[in-house]
Amino acid sequence: MKRYIAKRLLLLIPIMLGASMLSYSILYLAPGDPAELMLERQLQGVPTQEQIEAFKEEHGLNAPIPIQFANWLYRILHGDFGISLRTEKPVLTEYLNRFPASLVLFLMSQTLSIAIAIPLGIISAVKHNSEIDHLSRFVAMIGVSVPNFWLGLLLILFFAVYLGWLPAFGYGGFAHLILPALALGVSGCASIMRLMRASLLDVLNQDYIRTARAKGLCERAIIVKHALKNALIPVVTVIGLHIGHLISGMVIIETIFAWPGVGRFLVESIHARDFPVIQGFVLLIAMIFVFSNLIVDISYTYLDPRIRYE
């Protein structure tokens, strides 16, 4: 186990190196000279040739691209992600200031969707082909198909504008969290529910469950003690896969709800062509993502002892 974790951590090095290369190269995707583009934003006008040269000199943009990348990486390894052109604060500070708000939204959304999806999925499977099953499957199908940004707007319209029960946007107490967490979590919730149902149905058809029934165990004990443990394994896989979808969804949801998180700042920076922020944030988000995937993978081994990574 320790060897597996060590191996996975070592494998992260080349992957993160590649990810940082990709994040840095974003700068050179822009049509035109990046220095000119950045200066245009900063000065709110067309920069002169001297200004461009001075800017390039200051930011080391005259060196060959591999050298620029090496310098950038060297600074990043020392915790320096550069300065935002828009706010003129360090990129890392901007990220760390916004990370807690995003994390809270993420956790709330994830908890909410798991807490709704798993019991519903179990009921749906146990009461297979009943009215409840049909209804919850239908709702789940809508849930995976509804665009989260539209759902967010509908929630605002209904609960904030018409009913006035909850605040429409902004950051504050628990009440501010409910609508964005719902809008963000619905699609994940629906697919977890669908999978929980399918997986439990699959397990309930297996021989060892028939044995458990034959020896006279009550249905409740069969489901809770025997079926659920195995049925949960693919569900955990999907919860892991959904981390990526959630992070992606947060970019949109945070923008709609004016949530002061990482995603909204990234979108604003993209519109403002704030290159240091885009490069830094993309890399930092990838880092968080890669680590959370690692944690999910490791947690499988505890859940399913049949899985052995050697």
Partner: protein, 280 residues
Amino acid sequence: MNDSIHQLKRDKMAMIGMMIIAILTFIAIFAPYLALYDPLEVNMADRLQMPNEKHPLGTDQLGRDLLSRLVYATHVSITAAALATFMIMTLGVTIGAIAGYFGGIVDQAIMRIVDVLLSFPSLILTIAIAGILGPSLIHLVIAMTATGWVGYSRIIRGSVLSIKEKEFIEGARALGFGNLYIITRHIIPNVISPVIVIATIDMGHIILSITGLSFLGLGAQPPTPEWGTMLNEGRPFMETAPHLMIFPGLMIMITVLAFNFLGDGLRDALDPRMREVMMK
């Protein structure tokens, strides 16, 4: 294969999905003949009207007929989604076939690139690339292609790895055919069908991405009618003219729902085969 088609035909939801997709495709193709008004014609006197006899779904903040805009938006959104899916598929199949067929260092290099792309949450890189290229629908499709090919190439690579050792490939090689000929004539036709199924299942997801990023202002630009763009434009008028955000969203949901119905049906109908492919 016939069994699968038979089973698909009996799947009511899948057939409903297929019907909706057929209707949407019809609307997308014949948009200019179906729209009652010019979707770009501004008429400030009639702005922000609720649905009425003259304008069945009302008008927007510039007095443009909402129904006509939705009809044209169907054309824009569906075409963009189809183009994105086609490009992602083509790139994914090409790269996957190259990796699987040549193996060795080429395969290693491609798989490392795949690993790196998978270390980003799906949309984050797409958003960054689309934004940097400059907001436009075609740039969005390019950005989605640049990040979306990964899944397809992994599947194709697996299939190619198993098929390239078969006798008929060896036979083709013995007859002196070149690599390009063998890949395009013998390998790809044999591995393509699961990819087309996956593309159908994926279509709903692609539409959500395109409309979502357009909603963020990184796709189709106003005044182009596009579902996501229209939703974003209608947002400030949410309280006084809720129809501006309800109808475009409804269109997105119905389209995605239709593709998901069909995708689910396809998955069920082809399950044993799909499972075999997915396991590789």
